[in-house]
Symmetry: C3
Subunit: 163 residues, 3 copies
């Protein structure tokens, strides 16, 4: 049906659904690298990814929401690696290994992204489902958006990634 | 070697390799959103993703195939979240939380995708390996295709995602 | 800020962060398929993905690096499926099922990629962090690169995937 050609801009759109330490490092290192090279970057945080833009505050209004806020609470520094989690030991070990090689911490990388002008959005639907309000997010996060906004952004982006 | 320019259309191609509840929600919400905005959407289901387009029938012909059919059987409603699976409790909890916020169920989202004209394909190679025949799929799934078909689709798509 | 249009070539760029058996099958089958169709393919291996281009040699210089080399050592044939790992039993079972259907082994698919001219790169930062030197990689892997190189490649690629 839709045979029209589309134009691509120097722009990158990411869906960040993962909350894993390694995936988040990847997401922010790519985002910051692109932003530093003059590419417009938009990041859409959804589901497990929402914690990456959260302050260290307790969330949840219903029983389930509070339980989730308890089990998956805290902020980006609580992210565990996708492998070798070992009840937090993997996080500590990889943190050490990264520090030894002068890699910035996750929260520093995220704050740098804000400074570099990377646009970050929470996905409204998963914010509702997980009972995480906009007020729980760090400064610099844009107002929540829906999937239509992401698709419009992705359509004019030269690079799109699902992380 | 290949310096020719390519033209991008208002089209989206997804590889859906994951069978996780959260990833499948993401895949179908993005697919349906794009289709509703007039974008052609093609979804290629492979490996764990095949269950998302399966009916609730038993599959497998060899010993291994039957074992897999037993361990990873059922249909899309058996999908567990990638975290907090807890032997099915996570699925129940997230199902409740989504229902509370009027998010459609996974099978409803998938059926809506068929209605919206999203083209869904099983990957022939993983269907063979996992011993899942075309007859095990729901109505509306296209005939199986190989990787070449996906690449050709992706090449003219403005958006490609690996989920 | 950046409103310039970009031109897309018949080219594919992948970030391979996963070290899972199923994801690596997907990555190499897509890469080889695209290369066979005359598409330029570049693969950027990072974090868990680095093992996919490693020889079966022991790595690590510090205590943590050696521990990681022990826990996540070996080569691509040590990759476990993302589900049903069962201490290696899943790898054995899926290996059998794939063999029954004449799917090549992971190392064969990777070596075929080299033969087909797929360009493979290790990510310098994760090589540093995980203490995996270039000398640990198989022949045919290019010199290490940083994130800027990936972004430049992705920007002119018609297809980009994060796996």
């Amino acid at each position: 049906m839709s045979e029209q050609e589309i134009e691509k801009k120097k722009k990158m759109s990411m869906v960040v659904m993962s909350g894993d330490m390694d995936k988040l490092f990847g997401a922010f290192i790519i985002a910051n690298g692109a932003a530093a090279m003059g590419t417009d970057v938009t990041m859409f945080f959804t589901f497990w990814g929402l914690r990456a833009i959260k302050k260290d505050v307790r969330t949840g209004t219903t029983f389930f929401g509070k339980m989730l806020g308890l089990m998956y609470g805290g902020d980006i520094m609580k992210a565990n690696p996708s492998k070798f989690s070992f009840l937090g030991m993997g996080r500590w070990m990889f943190g050490k290994m990264m520090g030894n090689h002068n890699v910035a911490k996750l929260d520093e990388l995220r704050d740098l992204a804000v400074t570099l002008g990377v646009k970050m959005y929470g996905c409204q639907m998963s914010m509702d489902v997980m009972e995480i309000p906009q007020s729980a997010f760090i400064d610099g996060v844009q107002d929540p958006v829906g999937v239509g906004f992401f698709i419009a952004e992705a359509e004019e982006s030269g690079i799109q990634l699902f992380i």
